[in-house]
Symmetry: C2
Subunit: 499 residues, 2 copies
């Protein structure tokens, strides 16, 4: 066998092209697929995944990677490419086919049972399927290997290198402070009224505004697009082909924030450097770091005063009826209103991470087998009370609310909080590096921030693990300090309290 | 190796899924791909084609097919599946990799040279590249094998089973009669005036009309879609996912006819029976037979009096300005106006096939190496004069007009004429089988025709070669009799002459 880096690169390109096509077929499924074609598309995706897996575990790829791990004369980027692919391949090789099949069946049963349980608003209906999924995930974690903490092996799928020992204390600290902040804000003498109820915002106009914001952010619409789908998502088929979706609702402006969110993901995908295209380096090192970019644009920029100083006049012209009688101050308060709620997806910046920590704590107990499953609904509700002061009226709004567990997905939720924490650290670093950043944003100048993120985060690709990259850019690794300082400053001012 | 039909079927499914995904990636390239993503898409398509080819030539597939060719107890459909795939595989296996690579390079050079030649309006600029392409196509034909007529081996790619010895006399007869008809129509005392110049037809309204016509035809919009692209095409990703495109122009109603054309292709794809899905039987047996369905709906139905008896009132309501002063009779005459022209794509039903025969005759001479290349433009122009009585003003409107030869594609053009001939025979058979068919069409009832075609043509899939299938349905094989009778009757009445 010809052992050269070009031979390895050809295999990387092939895997990457397959990934792009899988991305296309998945994107199309959510946007343009005819309703009756879902079964055909499932077959096609299954075939593509099968080929991708076969290519990944091919022993000759293993030989090439083994060669590359010791070959002299490779560049640092070439070494990083081989390292990333080796990590991915090792995980795939360790997973027995029987387990993959059992998991697929259990996931299908899990979804079915979860849907029935939701109909009945009764967790017990879902419990046996969840039990089976947990057993298989533990088995999967053992197949991957870990140092005694199975959750680490699952977390690694989404957040390579992150460990419970590192993550747990940070999330515990975040949780305690957030509980305190929520209490203080609820007790604040100045409260923020709901503003949007009963108002209407033409969705065609929202579509135009969202495309303008994307363009202003520096999202390149000749190397990507925006379409409509029921749940917004972003999909990087290739750095020149980054597809975002949005879901606009005439009774709300939330669609604009979801555009900023997906746009943040999209800028990351477009920012991988050409030398990394079609290689494992054209990737974020973790889901959490990817999420940091979406949350940065959605919240730290998109719910901030500078941003709306520029855009609010446009909004008032565009939605003169919908925003009748609303001034910038009222608008800013309304889009930052803090209200404990049952559902994460509707949560504000302060309460959001409490939803995540709640799940993380429960996931950890479940994977450790330290929480009997029939106590899960009570454990959920107890934490909701302790963290947010509210009690779900039933399992539907409690433990059954989300599809992730029905799919047997554990280890993913923490990436949302990591995204929030990293976003604040990166934004703080950007402000230090770019004096006048927010004055510029208030004039509609979003490109300097995009360029700084591109240079320092996006163009790095997957050269370094997420936390190392963040440390390189900000001077410190994972921490809740920047995030909490941001919340305290912003929401303290908004609610007229010292946090 | 496990030699069962299920093992073979799994490979058929995989190949078919790959074909569907290639179809998706190609469709997306013409509809929604961001402008800067073309290079990435080329890589993705090249990777998919490579995997598809590798799967097709896999020796284990060869063993399974050899087993199936002799295995007892297979159903007739299973035998047909194996036979079709064996034919496809044999062609792929016979093509040396070096030739595939040389062809790809020559095609790329051919396109480049053709574009330059068009700029200069000078065939000589294109001649060396065309010479190379012809040499490689002859080599390819020899690799496939043939009984002395190389063109047969190329024709077989698009029209399996068809041979020059069978096709040539039919096209020669067609040519001679058409030359006579064109002359007679030009000499007819009643001439049809141009009608559409200077009129405007809102493209949004055309879009709605086109979707309505597709629905009326029985094209299932929950198992397919229509989008916009520069050149209209149809693409069957799967029988539940059939995608048509159109290009609407406010100065013309031609887009509606292209919708009927692509809709005819689309009905064929949707009509494959579920038992054949994801197998080689969910295919038309030839391009000519596929084209028969598009031409049937575009011309025999879509340019006929019964069709417009129903739709013209709707058109007059929809395009009250654009069709001001136009009555059904004038409209019917205008959409059937016969005018010799230089370009096939703009040709009417009478002159169209003369463009095809012209190219077929030249292709045959070129592949046989019986026409020196520097005499090609003169040979083209001489035939244009003899067939249509007009002389191209330059090579751009003559021999350089079309991209097919620049791409080295020979053997494809005859399928257009085969489509026209088959369409007339099939429509005549439908009229015999369905008394009152055209009275029904005049009431807007298009489904009986769709259902008849589905039962007798579409649901057959690739069980039989094209001509055998046509013989089974109509009682006769390839013939120009029905087509010429159709032209003589329709255009004789229109121009007030006996043809």
């Amino acid at each position: 066998m010809d052992k050269t880096f070009d031979a390895l690169l050809a295999r990387m390109h092939e895997l990457r092209d397959l990934g792009g096509v899988i991305g296309l077929a998945s994107w199309d499924r959510e946007t343009y697929l005819p309703t009756r074609a879902h079964e055909a598309r499932s077959h096609q995706l299954s075939t593509l995944h099968g080929i991708q897996h076969e290519r990944l575990v091919d022993p000759r790829l293993g030989e090439l990677l083994a060669w590359a791990s010791e070959a002299p004369g490779l560049t640092p980027d070439q070494r990083a490419m081989a390292r990333v692919l080796t990590h991915e391949r090792n995980r795939a090789v360790k997973l027995p086919r029987t387990l993959v099949k059992a998991l697929a069946e259990a996931q299908s049963q899990g979804l079915h049972a979860w849907r029935e349980a939701r109909e009945e608003r009764r967790f017990a209906r879902f419990q046996p399927a969840l039990s089976r999924l947990l057993a298989l995930r533990r088995e999967q974690a053992d197949a991957y290997g870990h140092g005694g903490e199975r959750y680490d092996a699952l977390l690694d799928e989404y957040e390579p290198g992150m460990r419970v020992a590192r993550l747990g204390p940070v999330l515990a600290s975040l949780r305690d402070t957030l509980i305190r902040l929520v209490g203080a804000l609820q007790a604040a003498p100045r409260q923020v009224p709901e503003l949007f109820q009963g108002r209407r915002f033409d969705t065609e106009a929202q579509w135009r505004v969202s495309l303008r914001m994307l363009g202003d952010m520096g999202f390149e619409l000749d190397a990507g697009r925006q379409d409509k789908s029921i749940h917004p998502f972003s999909s990087g088929l290739h750095p020149t082909d980054v597809r975002l979706t949005t879901d606009l609702d005439e009774h709300s402006l939330e669609g604009l924030f979801s555009t900023l969110h997906e746009g943040g993901h999209g800028l990351y995908e477009q920012g991988f450097q050409p030398a990394h295209h079609r290689t494992p380096l054209a990737n974020a090192p973790s889901m959490g770091l990817h999420e940091s970019q979406s949350r940065l644009w959605e919240n730290l920029v998109g719910r901030g005063r500078p941003f709306w100083t520029h855009y609010f006049p446009l909004m008032r012209d565009t939605f003169s009826e919908g925003l009748a009688g609303v001034a910038l101050e009222g608008f800013l308060a309304a889009i930052n209103r803090v209200t404990p709620s049952f559902i994460r997806t509707a949560a504000d910046e302060v309460t959001y991470n409490l939803h995540i920590v709640l799940r993380y704590e429960l996931e950890l107990l479940l994977i450790r087998d330290e929480l009997p499953l029939d106590e899960l609904p009570a454990a959920w509700n107890e934490r909701m009370r302790r963290f947010l002061g509210i009690t779900p009226p039933d399992d539907l709004q409690g433990v059954l609310q989300d599809i992730h567990w029905a799919w047997g997905e554990f280890g993913y939720f923490p990436t949302y909080s990591l995204g929030n924490l990293y976003s604040a650290s990166l934004y703080a670093a950007a402000r230090r590096a770019l004096p006048g950043l927010e004055e510029g944003i208030a004039r509609g100048e979003l490109r300097p921030l995009r360029d700084w993120l591109r240079d320092h985060v996006h163009a790095e690709g997957y050269r370094l693990p997420a936390e190392e990259l963040v440390r390189k850019v900000t001077g410190q690794g994972l921490t809740d300090v920047d995030f909490l300082a941001y919340l305290q400053s912003k929401f303290g001012a908004l609610y007229g309290v010292t946090l």
